[in-house]
Symmetry: C5
């Protein structure tokens, strides 16, 4: 899984029927501690994350299991809200 | 999911039978707000997107669910037309 | 899907039994119009592409559907020969 | 598979029910011998790895097989603790 | 598929039960002709490749089909030993 930060929301009225009711959040993924990649990633959320939260993001086929709907055409989902990260890094 | 912009169309007469009737659009993916990656990505579309639209793009196995044909050999599909993106970004 | 150009062929006598009879072509993927990535990609082809052709390439699990053999251990396949690309690009 | 080094742990109280009980470790992936990529990757572990261990990491759908729970929404798992690597490299 | 060169072996005593008996080789992937990416990739091999061999590598879900064990938690496998590559490249 990757670590991202919720930075906003996205709206799409015309969309796949299986995506109706899906809450979609806009994320920036962590590049390293204190830095983020510039790309905006859109992930489905059923955990209840909000703007500013640090979140665990799953990509690929596993995202469909995260929303408990194997027919939902998504490839990224939030699977946890990060409470804390403890990294022992001595480089 | 990633965010892309529809920039054109592509035609392929000789193709896999399962792709017949699939509308294929050419996209550029957003690198960050106001910038796009140079690569051209081809995605299937059953939502009705057109040139200039900002779209939500799903990659990998989920794309087959987006066209409701699990045998269709595609790895990218448009799953929504973006109405608006709201990003709270204070870096 | 991505767009590539067929640049050659590859031979492998010792290979997985499920790959016997598979025609394998060597591709370079388009970086942007007029530029190609340096990496050589190997894709299965049942469409009938040849050296010089611009082709639509599918990656990942969908490639197995492209060769109509879900047990074939491939992750890239040619699904169409590109006739034309029309890109409206005003940057 | 890729080779990573365990650098820490991560806690997420609010998470997908299928992730309850999963031990999650934070990794840095090897770029080349003696160098690591800056990104932090989060992987599930049922092997018993600890901080400092060099580990084999599997990505994508295979990660769900590594935790023996095909419904677990994860995309990275530790599948082995590396004892030794022997590389004959003469460039 | 990608093209790699076998550069060594890796040992992991503590590992997933489904990986017992799997021969694991360490590869460097070709960046372009004559150049290799620095990353070490670990792939399962049932073809019989050895150090120095140029090999065809499959990534993702297809790797499990290459070892004929759909429960094996691997994401890279050698599916062929390359005899020759013929590239017509006139840039």
């Amino acid at each position: 899984m990757d670590i991202g930060r919720v930075v906003g929301s996205i709206w799409a009225t015309k969309k796949d029927d299986n995506m109706n009711g899906q809450k979609l959040l806009v994320l920036k993924m962590l590049l390293e501690r204190g830095k983020e990649k510039p790309e905006l990633v859109v992930a489905a959320d059923i955990i209840g994350a909000g703007v500013g939260d640090l979140v665990l993001v799953v990509r690929g086929g596993a995202a469909r299991y995260a929303v408990h709907n194997p027919n939902c055409p998504i490839d990224a989902a939030i699977v946890g809200i990060v409470d804390s990260i403890e990294v022992e890094d001595n480089d």
